[in-house]
Symmetry: C2
Subunit: 336 residues, 2 copies
């Protein structure tokens, strides 16, 4: 590999001058600078990031911590899209992205230690059990951190606005005349709590008495459980006119249960999801859902993280809420 020394020799100058010429310092003559840049290019010179990092303590490398229990990691459409957007934004600003090793590491390092070891300048954390000691160590550490869909005191977070998303969805449903709305919600998390609270809130706004038998639970993306729960809902003496699923993917289970009983969507029962992944748009009938703005979430996370890194003094820990958008599909029927 050709180094600055080689370029310096070729140009008959010192390495200091080469460094300054290439990095745009002012105290090097215009013609010399051109000559140095040209020969560097000609010789195929590439800066050595390790050497640079050793001096400057900057690696331009961001970490992404993303644990996938049960393989639902990168396969998770919602998070995959966020990561994709995060990546594009960060790369445009000159940063690379590396995964934080979350397998059991050989030397038994914690997340935090691994980040330090790898020289990551900031970490985005998503889709993880935030309450393990390891995660807490990282969140509380001195490293710049942005969390997705989870709020921690003194740290910046970017989250989908589930309160507003669920509100819009519910107001839409109620507006269409639905009064018997069932909600199969996901397992406890801040996301789930926000949606659930909004669900009850709008019911209350519309003067609708919530019915316990209409509120059920199934893990996110669990089609089987959602199918089972839907079955029970449909077998109720007074069955709901509309069923809200934990997310789009699990809605597949819901649809199966409806079809298994010979009922039709949306004529006999309305079905809605949450997420707005591609799948929801290609189902028949097209699924009504709340499209979460993964592009903005990823982009804002990257922007905030980089801001923390580059302007640590002047960057506040912000709680950013990204609104979603109601997607009116054909899986919901207007009542009377």
């Amino acid at each position: 590999m050709v180094s600055m020394k080689d370029v310096a020799k070729e140009c008959g100058v010192s390495v200091a001058t080469v460094s300054k010429a290439l990095n745009g310092y002012s105290d090097v003559g215009e013609e010399k600078r051109r000559e140095i840049k040209e020969t560097a290019r000609r010789m195929g010179y590439l800066p050595n990031l390790s050497a640079r990092a050793l001096k400057t303590k900057r690696t331009y490398n961001l970490g992404i911590l993303f644990v996938d229990e049960a393989q639902s990691g990168l396969t998770h459409d919602y998070f995959s899209n966020i990561i994709e957007s995060f990546k594009v934004t960060a790369e445009a600003k000159g940063y690379d992205i590396t995964f934080v090793n979350c397998s059991v590491p050989k030397h038994g390092r914690s997340y935090y230690e691994h980040c330090r070891y790898r020289g990551l300048e900031g970490i985005v954390i998503a889709c993880i059990d935030f309450y393990t000691p390891e995660a807490q160590e990282l969140i509380r550490s001195d490293l710049p951190v942005v969390t997705i869909d989870y709020v921690f005191d003194g740290r910046t977070s970017v989250a989908s606005d589930n309160v507003r998303g669920m509100r819009e969805l519910m107001e839409y449903l109620c507006g269409l005349g639905h009064r018997k709305i069932a909600y199969i919600h996901g397992f406890d998390s801040s996301t789930t709590r926000d949606r659930l609270t909004s669900f009850y809130r709008v019911l209350s706004d519309y003067g609708i008495e919530p019915r316990d038998e209409y509120v059920r639970q199934a893990a996110y993306r669990d089609t089987e459980e959602t199918e089972r729960q839907t079955g029970e809902l449909l077998d109720l003496p007074d069955r709901p006119s509309c069923i809200i699923c934990p997310d789009d993917f699990s809605a597949l289970g819901c649809i199966r249960a409806v079809q298994a009983r010979g009922l039709r969507i949306p004529d006999d029962v309305s079905v809605v999801g949450y997420d707005g992944i591609t799948l929801s748009q290609v189902l028949e009938p097209r699924l009504t859902t709340v499209r979460q703005d993964t592009r903005t979430i990823g982009r804002r996370a990257a922007e905030e993280l980089i801001s923390q890194i580059e302007n640590p003094r002047t960057t506040f820990a912000e709680k950013i809420l990204v609104p979603g958008e109601l997607e009116r599909g054909e899986s919901v029927r207007k009542l009377n």
Copy 2:
């Protein structure tokens, strides 16, 4: 950050001794070694990867090049799963994974230059236009490279065995009595060619005359075009008894077209996909498909890449074929 120098001072030895003690060299006494290791741990010492890399030229960092035209990158189930498996395997062997920056980089570096700059020791390439000059430069370079689903002379590749996969699928279909089999294949690529050749081959084995109007084209994962093509197939005077889609996801379009005509799967027409992603298992009826062994593909890619890095002399450029597995769903009917 505490460095070797600090540990050395604390223990009253030289940094050289600390380095050797920590790296398991033989010429350091047992008690000293224990003492050094213990104080290093106590002081929270972490090796500085940049400094180490500067000397050893090893970064333990692998690159993954994965371009997603039209956002279908990380969202692509098949590739996401491969990456996931690649990641797990590589991490277990002490490597980290970073994305090769494929946005337009600020300094206008090519893939190859970026890999060198970032100090990546090897690259896995997937889901990309392999014939751009940039990709070619990387593939032909001196860096260890493994390609997924694409074969290049002198380089190692890991690919799904599409020849065998399609053969098994076709023999299954023919075995069930299907003679009028349509194939909506993806756009030209070695994957597509392998499947198509196998398709024709089995037809020939069974003495079935291939019919041009049964062979059509739609981009992978393009539900709309698959829907259109399916429509045309179904409107044929002599419509096929079975339709093979480019992949599982696009099969959704096929299913829509079938349902739109009031036909039933599999009673009126059989539908099959290719990939075996989660979606195929939760559709109603469960989709018959060829499950590609993404776990093995990712794992083998990592193993081969690391082998190239660690034993460059003794590692052959191998073409690895990973067999898939026929998933018998309920979307195919036995004829007469």
